[in-house]
């Protein structure tokens, strides 16, 4: 660790390439925080978007016309409007609006009232809903890929609807969904950068502050690319491995 810090310092001294986020401890902390925030944001959104996807896919099979169409409406709205404007809308229009109406509880953050759902929270809500809307379609397609005959066989064996869903339909559907789901999750990591516009201190925002302070735009840009492409590359690789493991022999390809 020390060696890398020394190397970065000499690099700056000798060539002027300023990787300040390596050799200065304050900047190191800032960069690390930004990175962790991005990872945190992405992970929480992944979780919620999958939950929304499962619930939505389940609801789309409902017998009630109103439930089905509310879900359909939700999907179409979120898929055909720009995610950036959605985030702005959620935070500024909805968030601030609800705050003014007093609908969002606040807590005492040492002298002033901090709303329970801050900008990070709204970013989570907005991004999860977008990714969730895609997931509903993906999961629904997976569920539809399970033949009705299989479901009939399950109920003939005595499975209740819920049990057959858990033990039979879902495992089959999941394997079908996996490639598209992975694609979606990778996109989610990329869209965490949109949280920049509502001042969520994720990696891009932090890097922006750092290059404003240290005037080293190219270095920060380069490092940002390395980190994002690396992070996403690792994610893609892991997903690929997982897909391979789950592959159904003799099906698909």
């Amino acid at each position: 660790m020390e060696a890398i810090i020394e190397w970065a310092r000499t690099l700056y001294d000798e060539t002027g390439i300023n990787l300040v986020f390596i050799y200065e401890s304050y900047e190191r902390k800032r960069f690390a925080e930004g990175f962790l925030n991005t990872v945190e944001l992405a992970s929480i959104c992944m979780f919620f978007s999958v939950v929304i996807g499962i619930v939505g896919a389940w609801a789309q099979g409902s017998r009630l016309w109103i439930v089905r169409n509310v879900v359909q409406g939700y999907i179409q709205v979120f898929r055909n409007t720009p995610p950036l404007i959605q985030i702005l809308f959620f935070y500024f229009a909805l968030g601030k609006g609800l705050e003014r109406l007093g609908l969002i509880p606040t807590y005492d953050a040492g002298g002033w009232q901090q709303p329970v759902i801050n900008n990070f929270g709204w970013a989570v809500i907005s991004l999860s809903m977008v990714a969730g809307s895609f997931n509903v379609e993906i999961f629904r397609a997976g569920i539809d890929a399970v033949p009705t005959t299989t479901r009939e066989a399950a109920s003939a064996l005595g499975y209740t609807r819920l049990k057959s869903y858990i033990h039979i339909v879902f495992p089959l559907a999941f394997r079908v969904c996996l490639p598209a789901l992975n694609n979606n999750l990778v996109n989610l990591v990329k869209t965490t950068t949109y949280a920049y516009v509502i001042a969520v201190p994720e990696m891009l925002y932090t890097a922006n502050q750092m290059w404003s302070d240290n005037v080293n735009v190219p270095e920060m840009m380069g490092s940002l690319f390395v980190v994002y492409v690396g992070l996403i590359g690792i994610l893609v690789y892991m997903m690929h491995k997982w897909e391979r493991n789950m592959r159904i022999p003799g099906f698909g390809q």
Partner: protein
């Protein structure tokens, strides 16, 4: 703790027959290389729903504001619409302009990159793979920052100093990820042509270049159109990102308009809502047409 199948334990089933996947999840690599947005089942009532939601939000904002009628949020919005949509070729019109140019440049470059990907030479294939992966895995906002901050605002072309406007830099910034994604579409389409076509062409002594241009590529074009159109929709919906960097498109101008109106909070809903509606109304016909083309090409094979 139960083992997750496929992660820390063996995949737990060896399954019998499943229904064939819905087409856009099928093994065809074409469909694996774009987000699976194909089953857009847009109906006109979705547009009406959105409009209704927008009207509702605006009405709530109206009810809240205690300002005289001509300063009501809806009236204000109505006044600013021309500004937001087509101010001097900026605004929403600029969003569309950026999307056209970026798509055009990205398609041409992407087609080349995609064909390089199936080249016979390993370094060419590897280099093309790297470029494709790099631009596919970069967040678009970061790319945009990079291009806009690092590109000079003036370049000398042929001795004359030419000023490069912001929106042009944005076009370049957007065309890079589009290039990578189109390259994936092209590669997928080429690889989805049955090997029999390559073999019979080879048996008839066609050179590789002749095979590619006269036999393989024409068959690919039909397959590539629906994913291509989808990427256009994605691109259009990503153009607001340029507002972060000061390009004067619709989101930027809407923000300016709100500032000009003293940043009254009750304007936020209607203004952003309006932006959502116009984007929706633009992307809806495209999605509908894409679905129609998909069905048409499916039938003819």
């Amino acid at each position: 703790m139960a083992k997750l199948p496929g992660i820390d334990g063996r995949a737990s089933t060896d399954l019998p027959v499943l229904n064939p996947l819905p087409r856009h999840f099928a093994a065809s690599a074409v469909h694996k290389c774009g987000p699976d947005w194909y089953r857009l089942e847009l109906r006109p009532w979705h547009g009406w729903l959105l409009l209704a939601a927008f009207v509702m939000v605006a009405a709530v904002a109206e009810a809240q504001s205690s300002a005289p009628l001509d300063r009501s949020p809806l009236a204000t919005l109505y006044r600013w619409i021309p500004f937001i949509v087509w101010q001097n070729g900026n605004g929403f019109v600029l969003n569309l302009t950026i999307s056209f140019f970026a798509m055009a440049i990205g398609t041409v470059l992407g087609a080349i990159l995609g064909l390089l990907r199936v080249s016979l030479y390993m370094p060419v294939r590897g280099g093309s793979w790297f470029v494709t992966q790099f631009f596919r895995n970069s967040p678009w906002l970061v790319l945009l920052f990079c291009i806009m901050l690092l590109m000079p605002y003036e370049m000398s072309i042929g001795g004359k100093l030419v000023r490069i406007p912001d929106w042009m830099k944005a076009v370049i910034g957007f065309s890079l990820p589009i290039m990578a994604n189109i390259a994936e579409i092209v590669r997928g389409a080429v690889q989805s042509i049955p090997t029999g076509q390559w073999e019979s062409a080879e048996s008839l002594a066609f050179s590789r270049r002749q095979t590619m241009w006269m036999i393989i590529f024409p068959q690919c074009i039909k397959r590539m159109i629906p994913p291509w159109m989808n990427w256009y929709a994605i691109l259009t919906m990503s153009t607001p990102v340029a507002s972060v960097l000061g390009v004067e498109e619709s989101v930027y101008l809407a923000a300016q308009a709100m500032v000009a109106e003293d940043s009254r909070p009750e304007l936020l809903g209607p203004f952003y809502g309006f932006l959502l509606v116009i984007f929706f109304l633009y992307c809806y016909p495209i999605a509908k047409w894409t679905m129609h083309l998909e069905r048409k090409f499916e039938v003819n094979g």
